[in-house]
């Protein structure tokens, strides 16, 4: 490959996607929408892992393997998160995170 995408642009794309996901996590109130924004942030991190693994790591497999582990943990996270959201919805008929203040005596 003679001409390649500069690493800066790959990392910049990941930064922008992570920032958009951060905005979603902070501004949404629906718990499922927050989970979706978290997935976006995890994907941005995966782009970084693969980019750095491709361009800088001495062993090019390392970045991809860590990305596989991130995907595994993200799948577990979304399954458990949705189960918890579902149970909250059954009890309160609502998944607005601002109204889930059970811990505030």
């Amino acid at each position: 490959m003679i001409e390649a995408v500069p690493l800066e642009h790959v990392v910049l794309l990941a930064t922008i996607l992570f920032g958009i996901g951060l905005y979603g996590v902070l501004s949404r109130r629906n718990a499922v929408a927050i989970l979706m924004a978290v997935e976006l942030m995890l994907n941005a991190v995966n782009i970084n892992f693969i980019g750095f693994g491709m361009y800088l790591a001495p062993d090019p497999t390392v970045g991809q393997i860590i990305a596989i582990f991130v995907i595994t943990v993200a799948a577990a996270e979304v399954a458990l998160g949705l189960a918890i959201v579902l149970q909250i919805f059954r009890r309160k008929s609502n998944i607005n995170v601002d109204e889930l203040d059970l811990l505030r005596w």
Binding site: H9, L12, I16, G19, L22, A33, L35, N46, I50, A76
Partner: protein, 168 residues
């Protein structure tokens, strides 16, 4: 500029637009569909970065499984309310300042850093067989732990989302 490089910028732009759709859409089903579009675009980015196996995994797990799971979650928790309400207006400027600040600071750091000092990127495609070899030899113990994590998450999700037993 060859085709792969041009495609990177096009796909990256579409990914950013889809991501914005995910966090800004008023209708939450549109948000979920934009999220799936963003996942597919990120799979395209992986293809361009020569990570073929990761691109297929991304398509299968994120665009397929996680997307369907999120839409199921939306269906089961349908409150009939819009995704955004007028009451959360005050959160939005703060969230915007936080994320824009993050993008500016991290973006400045990324563009100023001298990543390639003393390194010549080889950019060779890693064949899936080599990836599998590394995963099952050097990374065997993390792999086993990941399988345990998945098992625990699976059982935990079933137990948590099960309806309460009425009698016992």
């Amino acid at each position: 500029m060859n085709i792969a490089v041009a495609l990177f910028y096009i796909i990256g732009a579409v990914a950013i637009v889809s991501a914005l759709g995910t966090v800004l859409a008023r209708n939450i089903v549109y948000a979920a569909l934009s999220l799936i579009a963003a996942m597919v675009m990120i799979a395209g980015i992986f293809f361009i970065l020569h990570a073929d196996f990761l691109a297929l995994v991304q398509l299968l797990i994120y665009a397929g499984a996680v997307g369907v799971l999120l839409i199921f979650g939306l269906m089961l928790t349908n409150t009939g309310l819009p995704a955004t309400s007028p009451k959360d207006r005050w959160q939005r400027p703060l969230a915007f300042v936080a994320s824009a600040g993050f993008i500016l600071v991290a973006g400045y750091a990324v563009t100023e850093a001298d990543w390639m000092r003393g390194v010549t990127p080889q950019l060779e495609r890693v064949p899936p067989a080599e990836l599998a070899g590394a995963l099952f030899r050097n990374w065997a113990i993390p792999f086993e732990i990941a399988s345990l994590v998945l098992l625990v998450a699976l059982i935990g999700a079933v137990v948590i989302s099960r309806r309460e037993p009425s009698g016992d």
